[in-house]
Amino acid sequence: MSSENLDIAYVAKLARIALTEEEVARFGAQLGDLLGHVATLADLDLDSIPATAQVVESRNVMREDIERPSLDREVVLSGAPQRQGAFVRVPRIIGQV
């Protein structure tokens, strides 16, 4: 568990957050520091321990396939930054190189 490989600009790209150079330097140092702290987990012998995703009983949840009212389309679209008719409008996705 080494933090040497933390390439903050690459991680920011994965997370889709544009960072300034100042943020790259600051967050890089802060996250490197945090990774140093979490490296203590290497002390624990965890080889035979199962992973916990959920602490209380969980099961697959299905509901009856019954038609029921949804949120009002106009109300939902009123929260969108840009719309066109009944759709949310976004910049071009297809046709980029």
Partner: protein
């Protein structure tokens, strides 16, 4: 009129149901109090004057026609990550600064159904990430007991509003301590039930395997009444637990005969300094005097809680907050293509702490690091939960500090990790999903400070043992009455 809001929830509901006063009068007294102290406290991001008045009038009409409600007319502060239809629901973030919720969270609906009246949306650390409310992008909240100090976080607005009598019950959410820590800082009871007990439908997600809604109140009975109203299965939340809920408010005890209370060997309070150590020592003596048997228990992995949490919570947050991409809701900053629009919107919409957590979570989940960080943390989480299960073989409840210090001054935790350390005592319980609460347990005057500040005793119970937990906290509260021993810095409410 203010005397109407100096009482607890039970007394307010009794008076409103008996028509000794109207819900409208309670709301007017609350709005008056808010107008008078908000300039100092800043607990709310929005005050719901119109909705509160309309809600009160509608409730009064139903009471006039013979209906009765367990929390009739009780003023409610709603943390601003809980959806309330028609209100701006910001999460303390520029990302959602103007987003109007199109529906109401199940927990809030449950409170509305028993007659509580939302009076405001409370400030919080952005997306519930923080321990001081300083990470809010939209406002500053001050601790009513010392205005130079933080109210705690992330449910800091809910805590400050209830402490300042701007509401009787505050709804908060707790992922690693976000109800218990601000409750301790603001002299309140802060209760996080078992994971899955209260529906999270309509709670804007931070870390889904840890998030839990709960109340912040000025006494244990109010917390029990709020819990009784909100707990239970909800088909709208796939993780809500389908298991019978025992009512708690009718089972509060006055003694602790036959209760074994575990003290964690690894939580040595000597290192917190003499004043604080004395307060926690006395708390154990008081528990013993009430009939409890104090036993030592071990949590060998206690020191690994923070490391575990600061991988799991950011990993889940990086996934949950991916939805804020400038497309369907929230802030959008235009770009030449979708990716650039996403990157710019998230850069402008999120504050530094949220960015840090998303980045660490993205890293922990990324190819090549997933097993080394995320899976390893999930395995450590198993050990933490096993430790508690073992400890509860020899005790019924665990007593521990809620925080390692009283409320600190603004800007005194500039290094992110020093802020994370504030959750040292509350995180292990969250990782194990256990019900836990903070109850006022004494006062200290911090070094360099002039005012006495409250501390909280954290009590933890096994999964689903909320009834035993609240009951014991009630006995301790009644016997000690620490909450009333020192005044706030703001004007006291008229009694």
């Amino acid at each position: 009129m203010s005397s109407r809001i100096s009482s607890g929830a039970k007394e307010i509901a009794r008076a409103v149901n008996a028509r000794e006063c109207s819900a409208r009068e309670v709301v007017e007294a609350t709005l008056e109090r808010i107008a008078s102290v908000e300039p100092q406290v800043g607990a709310y991001l929005s005050v719901l004057e119109r909705q509160a008045r309309e809600g009160a009038d509608a409730l009064d009409a139903r009471i006039a026609s013979g209906e009765r409600f367990p929390l009739a007319g009780v003023p409610l502060a709603v943390k601003d990550n809980l959806a309330l239809e028609g209100t701006v629901t910001t999460c303390g973030s520029k990302m959602l600064e103007r987003w109007v919720a199109p529906y109401t969270a199940s927990a809030v609906r449950s409170m509305l159904a028993v007659g509580a009246i939302p009076v405001g949306k409370a400030n919080m650390d952005e997306f519930a990430m923080g321990s001081s409310c300083e990470n809010s992008a939209l406002g500053v909240t001050r601790n009513p007991y010392d205005l130079e100090r933080v109210p705690g976080g992330s449910s800091g607005g809910s805590a400050a509003s209830v402490a300042a009598y701007e509401a009787t019950i505050g709804l908060g959410s707790d992922t690693g301590g976000s109800i218990r820590e601000p409750a301790a800082f603001c002299n309140l009871v802060g209760f996080k039930p078992t994971y899955g007990r209260i529906s999270r439908y309509g709670l804007i997600a931070f870390a889904s395997s840890l998030d839990q809604i709960g109340p912040l109140t000025r006494n244990v009975e109010d917390a029990a009444l709020a819990y009784d109203a909100m707990a239970g299965f909800d088909p709208m939340d796939a993780t809500s637990v389908d298991r019978a809920v025992e009512p708690t408010a009718n089972a509060l005890r006055e003694d602790l005969q036959g209760v074994r209370i575990g003290v964690v060997k690894q939580f040595d309070t000597h290192k917190l300094g003499n004043d604080i150590d004395d307060v926690y020592d006395r708390a154990l003596h008081d528990l013993e005097a009430l009939g409890a048997e104090i036993v030592e228990v071990e949590l060998p992995t206690a020191d690994y809680g923070l490391a575990t949490y600061y991988l799991i919570a950011p990993a889940e947050c990086s996934s949950n907050l991916a939805r804020f991409d400038g497309v369907r809701y929230g802030l959008r900053i235009d770009g030449n293509d979708v990716a650039e629009m996403n990157e710019r919107s998230r850069a402008a919409g999120f504050g530094p702490e949220v960015k840090r957590r998303i980045l660490i979570g993205t890293y922990a989940l990324s190819s090549g690091y997933y097993d080394a960080y995320y899976v390893r943390a999930q395995k450590a989480r198993t050990l933490v939960a096993r430790d508690f299960a073992k400890a509860f073989e020899s005790c019924d409840l665990i007593a521990a500090p809620a925080t390692s210090s009283p409320a600190f001054r603004f800007k005194s935790k500039s290094d992110p990790y020093s802020m994370y350390l504030m959750d040292y005592y509350t995180i292990p319980m969250s990782l194990a999903g256990l019900p836990a609460l903070s109850v006022p347990c004494g006062w200290v005057t911090p070094e360099g400070g002039e005012r006495a500040m409250p501390l909280g005793l954290q009590l933890t119970a096994p999964l689903f043992a909320e009834r035993a937990l609240l009951s014991a906290a009630h006995a301790y509260e009644r016997a000690t009455m620490h909450a009333s021993k020192h005044p706030m810095q703001i004007a006291e409410v008229t009694r």
